[in-house]
């Protein structure tokens, strides 16, 4: 049983979910706002990671944060290390897969909040920002939480994009899904068994919890 790849997977997935939470709620809120132009076009754009092959996504990520990109160079100048082939790359890779799930559920959850409640908050002296944070966001929270859990499970299991962007460096960027691949390739199935069991149990637990959350929301 290898614990290091599993531990790394958790660290990466937690960081990726945090990133996806901030960006996903922001973008979901923009898409849910009726004044946002061409929102269905942007929705399609943000959903692309769910349908594109990991190699294509990995290519885009490499182009945008690789050592020759502006973003990659800025990161390297500040931190002294590149993004690609480091744990930061793994985090970015995991975020790409989980972001659409968070955006989708945040948009749906925010859109399902009764607009009359937001209007009531505005007439009660709440600025648009206060109405969002004190009424809209709390009422959408169970839907957003469900999306974050799905996003976390997705980030935990990322394979293709992580491989392309962060490589498969044992002890550095080798996450559980990469370690499972290596173990099975080298006929050491027993080494993978523990990780397979943990990832499966976790996936099942997340889906169960999401169902419960969704039911809770519908009952309210």
């Amino acid at each position: 049983m290898q614990w290091a790849p599993l531990a790394l997977s958790f660290e990466v997935a937690i960081a990726a979910t945090a990133l996806a939470a901030v960006m996903g709620v922001l973008l979901g809120a923009l898409l849910a706002s009726r004044r946002f132009p061409a929102r269905d076009l942007f929705d399609a754009l943000f959903t692309l990671p769910m349908v594109l092959p990991p190699t294509v996504l990995g290519y885009y990520v490499l182009v945008s944060i690789g050592r020759s990109s502006a973003l990659g160079r800025a990161f390297e100048r500040v931190t002294g290390s590149s993004i690609v082939f480091t744990v930061f790359g793994a985090i970015v890779a995991a975020t790409v897969g989980s972001l659409p799930l968070v955006i989708k559920s945040a948009r749906a959850a925010l859109e399902s909040v009764d607009p009359a409640l937001v209007a009531a908050a505005r007439t009660l002296g709440a600025s648009p920002l206060r109405a969002f944070f004190t009424v809209k966001l709390p009422l959408a929270s169970s839907g957003i939480l469900a999306g974050l859990m799905l996003g976390f499970a997705r980030a935990l299991g990322d394979f293709g994009v992580t491989l392309m962007v962060a490589g498969d460096i044992p002890g550095e960027t080798q996450t559980a899904s990469l370690a499972i691949y290596d173990a099975i390739q080298s006929n050491q199935d027993a080494r993978a068994a523990g990780m397979i069991a943990v990832l499966t149990a976790l996936g099942a637990a997340v889906l169960y919890a999401v169902n419960r959350l969704t039911r809770l929301r519908n009952e309210r």
Binding site: A116, A120, A121, R122, T123, G125, L139
Partner: protein, 232 residues
């Protein structure tokens, strides 16, 4: 307390697909209760939304004394949260995730210290006879209790204008009378303009004395309830 100021309303709206009716209404609301009476679809709720700032008229002007809330000519439109107009919707729109007390506290000016906001909210709940539900969530309240909490929320914040959109329509007559007494007392103390929308002549007669009669988006007549609603 603000000096006695009348609300001057002039609202013009072109017909749209959602609202198949053009609106062109002008009337004044002095401090005290004014009934805005008309059949369903006469444009009553739309006019309230325009006064509260939830909807932007195509033309017209809304002002409270010398305070201009909306003026199409100069393009000025004060956002709803700066108008201090309390609205009680027919749906009540109590925040389901907040207790009755937190609902009432929500509207009180954030510049007031927290403990004073709480004290004011409690006092208003007590005054309107629902102190016992302060800690409860809206979905656990009876219809009458929820109505009272919504009224407490509208009045606890020292509104400059109060807009009641069919707020009593779902009630039986006895309940309506008892709430009417509370509302007229509060409106009298605050000395603010209060518009009460209704399509029910009986409710109009219990609740108000001054009446603006609306039909198909236009003001038909302004005068005492008794005269306007009995002579048909």
């Amino acid at each position: 307390m603000s000096a006695e100021r009348a609300l001057a309303v002039r609202v013009q709206l072109a017909a749209t697909r959602q609202r198949g009716l053009a609106i062109d209404a002008a009337f004044d609301v002095p401090p005290g209760i004014t009934i805005l009476f008309g059949p369903s679809g006469a444009g009553k709720s739309t006019i309230l939304s325009a006064i509260a700032g939830l909807l932007r008229p195509d033309a017209g002007r809304v002002s409270l004394g010398d305070e201009v809330w909306f003026d199409a000519a100069s393009g000025k439109s004060l956002p709803p949260h700066l108008r201090k107009a309390s609205v009680v919707f027919q749906s009540l729109s109590l925040f389901p995730h907040l207790s009755a007390l937190d609902n009432v506290e929500y509207g009180i000016d954030r510049a007031v210290p927290r403990d004073q906001r709480r004290a004011r909210a409690l006092a208003m709940l007590a005054r309107i006879k629902v102190l016992h539900v302060a800690a409860r969530k809206p979905r656990t309240l009876s219809g009458g209790e929820a109505q009272r909490v919504a009224l407490a929320r509208a009045f606890a914040r020292d509104p400059k204008v109060v807009l009641l959109d069919e707020a009593f329509s779902a009630m039986d007559r006895a309940l309506r009378r008892s709430l009417h007494a509370e509302v007229s007392a509060l409106v009298g103390e605050l000395s603010v303009p209060c518009i009460q929308v209704t399509h029910d002549p009986e409710e109009a007669q219990t609740m108000g004395s001054r009446c603006v009669k609306l039909e198909a988006g236009r003001v038909l007549a302004v005068g005492p309830v008794a005269e306007l609603l009995l002579v048909r």
